[in-house]
Amino acid sequence: MKMIKAVNITKRFDRLTAVNNVSLQVDKGQIFGLLGPNAAGKTTVIRMLCGIIECDEGEISLNDKNIKKAKTDFGYVAQHFGQYEDLSVRENLQFYAQMYNVTDEQRLQSLLDRYELTKFRDNLAGTLSGGYKRRLALACALAHEPEILFLDEPTAGIDPLTRKLLWDDFYRLSTEGKTLFVTTHYMEEAQRCHQLAFLSAGEKVAEGTPETIKHALNNAIVYSTNIPYLPKLRDALIQMKGMMLVNQFGNELRLVVTSQITQTELESIIHSVTGKPVPLQVSEPNLEDVFIALTQKEIDSPC
């Protein structure tokens, strides 16, 4: 069953087309990841799906209903902390629950427990650390037991441990049958999603499972080798016609090229710059290779 369905949605702000003709479908119980660099239009998409921005064109349905009728079917955690900083943790949770006519104190207590907020229940939300604010936001969004959860960059600026805990929870929600729609630009998070879509400059550029999306570069080939970062080498490689991505990870250099560049050409250029022969290996493309290669037109300099 399709819990989220967006057909050809478009949003323009003045002259800028923030989202252009994007269609998305998410099955029940899935974790769907929307990936894209900053300003690709992720937040605009998620806000349109939640009905707080109207789309200029296209149709959206949630749980087979029009958004206005589906307001109790979903919860939303905005990118910025949107709960009341001058209310306590419990007061915030009670407020959001009551906005959906939920007054079951036991349920709220179980949410506080689940997100380890019980010890902070009487603290003002503004005094919580970033990680606990995120947990509170999540608890508030879940107060009315929605079928669908929209999370706009739920782990941005969160430490790896909390991030892992949050993701454990996302999986738990997903096994409970909830549908999650997550935006992110972390590759390790993208890897955890059931389905992914890449957004670049407002357009959907790829879509699939983390496995299938790795082949979205079609005929591109990925080479890797161990070599320390050399600015001169990078400049020489980047000028080659057919070079899609030059990406350095510590001592690992990864090159994504179209089939018009051969391995010998690459090796000879590296040899001429470094003065020594450096053998290249053909590797599997990873998500980051695909992500950067597909979206780099929008980021000025890769790597």
Partner: protein
């Protein structure tokens, strides 16, 4: 470093065109408005008169009062009616001439006429007393001297008649009585506008609005939910300030506590809903503050609170009547000082209620459930 801060502040100001509009256009508009509007010369003050004599002489007096455009005279049936007209606010002044005027005048017996003044507005009272001199002007009295052929010539002619001035409702011309009821309104206006003026825009700035908009609340729920708590607080505040006025400045008790309560409730509702409307229009808290000031300053100056409405020129006068505070000032003075009856205040009460309904409905329409 200093220059860097100065430059940064200027750059930030420049990024808010609406604010620039407010700090350039607002003072200019108000300057022009007040330049035209603020005069201490009342014109066409309504004056109820009873002329029992109806003679050539009394006509001279009336013409004297009317000719300079200070007073707009109309006739009533008795002395009591003159006072009632002033109590109800239809007239601000009155003139009573009894039926013996000509007889006494011809007899050189110095008849008395009575000039009534509404004492609730000292600035108007003073101006009216001054302008009433036109009744005893030489051009009026020249034809009123009757010399007895056998009498001795008098060196200094005494005045042919005497005009007594009677100040109604605030006989001691206490300025606290005049200003204090209005001051309460000004304070409530400020409190209400600032309280709610930032209420929505703060949610917008703090990003809590986005989180609120996804909930299934309706526009009406949001608007009423935003209004009610502040209305209760501001009404309580109104009574708190009023109680202080009673304790510290010996302010009189109202003719009806029920009417006073209605006034407080309706006026507070008008101001709170206007504040909410500001909050829905403004994009930043700073803008909201400016719009509030833009409303408060003309309200104070054009409502009859300080300058009498009669002194505001006809072309600006309509603005006075679209200021809710104008009706508040009129009603609270009537209730506390003039002890006016309810039927004479119905129009003002209805006007205030209409403002409240207007602002609430515009707020509901204006509130958008999208960012």
């Amino acid at each position: 470093m200093l220059m860097a801060i100065i430059k940064k502040e200027l750059l930030q100001l420049r990024r808010d065109p609406r604010l620039i509009g407010l700090i350039v256009v607002m003072p200019l508009l108000l300057l022009i408005l007040f330049g035209i509007a603020l005069k201490l010369e009342p014109q066409n003050v309504k004056m109820a008169y009873y002329d029992g004599d109806r003679s050539f002489f009394t006509n001279l007096i009336k013409t004297g009062l009317w000719s300079d455009g200070y007073f707009d005279l109309y006739e009533v049936a008795s002395k009591e009616e003159i006072i009632e007209e002033i109590r109800s606010g239809h007239a601000k002044a009155g003139l009573y001439i009894n039926n013996e005027f000509s007889a006494l005048l011809i007899d050189n017996q110095q008849p008395h006429i009575t000039f009534f003044v509404d004492g609730t507005m000292p600035s108007l009272t003073t101006a009216m007393k001054y302008n009433s001199n036109s009744a005893t002007d030489e051009s009026v009295t020249n034809d009123m001297y009757f010399t007895d052929a056998e009498a001795e010539n008098v060196v200094i002619a005494q005045d042919p008649f005497i005009m007594d001035t009677e100040i109604l409702f605030n006989p001691d011309e206490k300025e606290t009585w005049f200003f204090l009821p209005g001051v309460i309104g000004v304070l409530i206006m400020q409190i209400a506008l600032i309280l709610t003026g930032i209420s929505v825009v703060r949610e917008r700035e703090k990003k809590t609005l986005e989180q609120l908009l996804v909930t299934p609340m309706s526009k009406t729920t949001f608007v009423i939910g935003k209004l009610l708590p502040y209305i209760i607080i501001a009404v309580a505040d109104f009574y708190f300030i009023l109680a202080a006025g009673w304790l510290l400045f010996d302010l009189p008790q109202p003719v009806s506590h029920l009417l006073l309560f209605f006034l407080a409730l309706i006026f507070v509702a008008v101001m709170i809903s206007l504040g909410l409307l500001i909050s829905l229009i403004a994009r930043t808290q700073q803008q909201a503050m400016f719009i509030a000031i833009f409303i408060i300053v003309p309200s104070i100056l054009l409502s009859g609170f300080i300058f009498p409405l009669e002194a505001i020129p006809d072309i600006v006068r309509p603005i006075s009547y679209v200021i809710p505070f104008t009706y508040f000032v009129e009603i609270i003075r009537a209730l506390l000082i003039k002890q006016t009856h309810f039927q004479d205040l119905i129009t003002s009460f209805v006007s205030l209620t209409a403002f409240a309904l207007l602002f609430v409905s515009v707020s509901i329409v204006k509130f958008r459930q999208t960012l």
